[in-house]
Amino acid sequence: MTGRHRDKVQASVEDALAPLFDGAAIMVGGFGLCGNAEALIAGVVDRGVRDLHLISNNAGNMGKGLAAWLRAGIVAEVTCTYLGNNEDLHAAMREGTVKINVVPQGTFVERIRAAGAGVAAFYTPTGVGTVVAEGKETREFKGRTFLLEEALPADFALIRCRRADRFGNARFWRTARNFSPLMATAAGTTILEADELVELGELEPDDVHLPGIFVHRVLEVTEHEDPFEYRTVRARAGEAS
């Protein structure tokens, strides 16, 4: 009868990742290398689990982030939306060592949200008439054709936030929010890597981006690399410009 909403704070990466198991489906937040749960991602390789189904928008890039999982050979399947210049993912695809499912990004996140919200499936216009529609039901509503897409749940979600409290209430920073709050809802166990852990009540209740109901384990990690993928700038042309 004791629920999972107490004693969530973890002492170490090892503790936080203890429930992982071989063959697990694991969602990982972040858009490329932006907003990655860096300590948890690195910790999974050390944890020694394998045959994972990785569900993440990009599965790493530039040899960093989730690319480490591909290099370690612990991934059996990837569901993502974009490969880009992720050479490790291209190599895995070329060599056929990993099954790769490429999904439209809006469908990807809506399937994740559906899993978290108890919705079994939904009809979307995205992908109608494309390879994405192969083998799927289509149906007309009000004269337009839609595609049936099913919920995408996972066993675990590994996400990163800027600030959190011990209940798992979380705030994200800028575009580091992306898929993370949705993934948290869709996983059996959500593990949160917070840059800073604050006291209950320090987060303004109107401004909690992710309520703690969706979080099961919280780990404070104060140091992050946060690499740039494309550092684009403009020149300063005096104070006024």
Partner: protein, 209 residues
């Protein structure tokens, strides 16, 4: 002697595990919060958009924009959060609420629940009842054992419109605690001084004991 409403609420509070997320229905279930021990990390969810609902405000602190689903003024505890209704029902429908404590007009031995409409009576509407009944991980019903007219509310089958099918896990009445298991009612506990015969007589379905 049958349990009072306060005693029913106190008994129901024992069903709330530490570290769980609980939604309390309108009416009698709302009273359950008063009987929780401290420090249990129990979080109350109210479907109009608040997790971490606290007690009624002190006089003068009422905020008309801080209410529960029964439209009573409430407070927020440290660590609480507000969100929109889509997120709130994602919590319910997605199975993130550990326990819902609901009232009932009728409960069937297969766990069917009727608690929103009496045929020919005044329709109060559905509100969050159907989502809670089908979405929460565990459903505890808190109700008088019989109607004001003395009719059994625990039945072989509901004849009122259903709220959800097969959803009820346990029932706490003024007379007893009963589980819904293996297609029938099973006695868990009698109120002090209440006999099994009395409970059987007032239950409209077989009762395993």
């Amino acid at each position: 002697m049958a349990w009072s409403k306060q005693q029913m609420a106190e008994r129901a509070a024992q069903e709330i595990g530490a570290g769980s997320i609980v939604n309390l229905g309108i009416g009698l279930p709302t009273m359950v919060a008063d009987y929780l021990p401290e420090g249990q990390d129990v979080w109350f969810h109210t479907e109009n958009g608040l997790l971490g609902m606290g007690p009624f405000p002190f006089e003068g602190d009422e905020d008309p924009q801080l209410i529960n689903a029964g439209k009573q003024t409430v407070t927020v505890v440290p660590g609480g959060s507000f969100f929109d209704s889509a997120t709130s029902f994602a919590m319910i429908r997605g199975g993130h609420v550990d326990l819902a404590i609901l009232g009932a007009m009728q409960v069937a031995q297969n766990g069917d629940l009727a608690n929103w409409s009496i045929p020919g009576g005044r329709t109060m509407g559905i509100g969050g009842a159907m989502d809670l009944a089908s979405g929460a991980k565990r459903i505890l019903v808190l109700t008088q054992h019989v109607t004001k007219q003395g009719e059994p509310k625990l039945l072989e089958a509901c004849d009122f419109p259903l709220t959800a099918c097969g959803c009820v896990d346990r029932v706490i009445t003024d007379l007893a605690v009963l589980d819904v298991a293996d297609g029938g009612f099973a006695l868990v506990e009698l109120a002090p001084g209440v006999s099994l015969d009395e409970v059987r007589a007032k239950t409209g379905a077989p009762l395993r004991a």
